[in-house]
């Protein structure tokens, strides 16, 4: 579904992404992990077409992608953003937010599509004509997912989709994403700093640091403690005695 070769992004002389290559199979969920500034979100913005100055070779859905994407690319890939408060237009109702992509793409039966999209993400029809400020963070993120799905893309790009949410709401949103992936055969790229979230959602992951991928791992490798790179181990909290103590304390209950 995705093949990235020798991707390089520079912002005014600073290299943000340096020689990054990876592939994602159709229907697979792939995780990109790293601290802030590691370049993981930049990679996602290249894939989505939001970022237009990069070099390298990006193939999505069998087609080599150029920096500027055609309008039809919106039907292939969509994105869900981190901040549910900034990703919805404050003056648009949920209805207007969901109808907009369908209108842009000239789809028919927009009313039904909006209703269906709301149902698909587990939102009650009562929220349809509410404004974002009348919704909770979890509901907003569901609206953002519904907006991404209304064009029925085959690839979903997720940029820290749950890091702004409470842990109980995070569980609901992750379950929703897992369910949608299964029912629609979606391919997903998930960017996160949280290894547990990535291991839960993805089969494979890459750990990034300073713009480069330092380690490719499977989720099983990660669970089995086969992470080799110090950066991955730092993210796991293995490096510090406190972290080890903590994981111990929390493993007691199951």
């Amino acid at each position: 579904m995705i093949a990235v070769e020798a991707l390089r992004v520079t912002f005014g002389g600073v290299t943000a992404v340096d020689d990054v290559s990876f592939t994602v199979a159709r229907g697979e969920a792939f995780g990109l992990v790293g601290e802030s500034g590691s370049g993981k979100s930049t990679v996602l913005r290249v894939l989505s077409g939001l970022l237009r100055s990069w070099s390298g070779r990006v193939t999505i859905d069998g087609e080599v992608q150029r920096p500027v994407r055609p309008r039809s690319f919106a039907r292939v890939a969509q994105m869900v953003f981190q901040d549910p408060y900034g990703s919805l237009h404050p003056r648009h109702t949920v209805d207007a937010t969901l109808a907009e992509p369908a209108l842009v793409q000239g789809l028919d039966r927009i009313d039904q599509r909006v209703a269906q999209a709301l149902a698909d993400v587990g939102l009650d029809g009562a929220v349809r004509f509410r404004y974002p400020h009348q919704l909770s963070g979890g509901q907003r993120q569901r609206v953002a997912i519904a907006r991404a799905l209304i064009l029925e893309p085959s690839l979903l790009l997720l940029d820290e989709p749950t890091s702004a949410l409470d842990v109980s709401v995070q569980a609901e949103v992750l379950n929703l994403l897992a369910g949608l992936r299964q029912s629609r055969g979606l391919t997903m790229v998930l960017v996160s700093h949280n290894l547990a979230v990535v291991a839960h959602m993805c089969e494979r992951l890459a750990v990034m640091r300073d713009g480069a991928i330092v380690e490719h791992l499977s989720a099983a490798d990660l669970r089995a403690g086969r992470a080799a790179h110090p950066c991955t181990r730092a993210l796991l909290g293995v490096g510090t005695g406190d972290g080890a103590h903590r994981r111990h304390g929390l493993r007691e209950h199951t």
Partner: protein, 296 residues
């Protein structure tokens, strides 16, 4: 279901209900501000007087040279002017001119300023450079002087006064709209619209402009006073509405010569200018509280 329940419902059943509900919430914020309500009442009264007032008072141009310069009395509530015309009738008829001026300027200035500002802010780069420098050039002229020069070139008259004011007023709106656009240009909902395949004009129209509109409306209502004063100033200098049209600024100018002995001739239209300007200012301050997205 009561109207209140319909408007405050947290689960509106239609687009119309959602929109009316949002308006109703804004109205309730505005109603809590007594000064804004005073402003609203003044502006509403202005509109009402402009609509039905002229039918209730006499002709604004009927001269009575015998009864000239009469002080306020039961026959002439606000007195008569140098040509014996009823000042009340002239002030009431003058509301139409004032309102027309204000409305025409608003209709020209807001869309132009909004378009220039959002385009400059959204595209940035060369487009922004050119449009912003153009804005700067217009901002560098003193408003009244530029208006004077224009009217002098185009000839006096209410239409040219409107044109002159509009030409000098739009850059401020472009600035406001550009600043707002810069603040939201990189937000995620704009990125989402781009990912949906929306064209730049569509994003400007659907996403950017609704968010800039509130600042522009606030700015406009605060600017109304200035527009009225500029129009009155042009009228005072004889470059706005031409006699015998009952324009307030021109009326003040006409009363100037008799200001010491017959104070009411200049004072009555002056009070009208003052009250209406103040009304727009108070309303603008109230609207700022209602419409400012950051204040929510």
């Amino acid at each position: 279901m009561s109207l209140h329940a319909y408007l405050t419902s947290t689960s509106p059943a239609s687009r119309r209900q959602a929109r009316l509900g949002a308006l109703y919430r804004a109205w309730r914020v505005l109603r809590r501000n007594p000064l804004a309500m005073v402003g609203l009442i003044v502006v509403a009264a202005l509109v009402l007087i402009a609509a039905i007032g002229p039918a209730l008072v006499g002709s604004p141009t009927a001269q009575d040279l015998v009864g000239r310069l009469r002080p306020p009395s039961p026959d002439h509530w606000l007195g008569t002017d140098t040509l014996g015309r009823d000042i009340l009738a002239r002030v009431v008829h003058g509301t139409r001119i004032t309102l027309l001026t204000v409305a025409l300027v608003a209709v020209v200035v807001a869309p132009v300023g909004l378009a220039v500002g959002t385009v400059a802010g959204y595209f940035g780069g060369v487009v922004d450079g050119v449009l912003s420098r153009l804005t700067d050039v217009f901002l560098a002229f003193p408003r009244l002087i530029l208006a004077l020069a224009l009217v002098a070139a185009l000839g006096p008259g209410i239409e040219n006064a409107v044109l002159a004011i509009a030409l000098t007023a739009w850059p401020a709106y472009a600035r406001v709209a550009r600043a707002e656009t810069l603040a939201i240009r990189d937000s995620d909902f704009i990125a989402a619209a781009r990912l949906a395949g929306a064209s730049a004009p569509r994003i400007l129209w659907r996403q950017v402009m609704p968010l800039c509109l509130s600042s522009v409306i606030v700015r406009l209502s605060l600017d109304m006073a200035g527009i009225i004063l500029t129009a009155a100033g042009l009228g005072f200098l004889g470059l706005g509405a031409q006699p015998p049209a009952p324009e307030w600024g021109a009326m003040v100018a006409a009363g100037r010569r008799v200001l010491l002995d017959q104070w009411w001739v200049a004072t009555m239209p002056g009070i009208a200018i003052f009250v209406v300007s103040l009304g727009f200012n108070l309303l603008g301050d109230g609207l700022r509280d209602v419409l400012d997205p950051k204040a929510r």
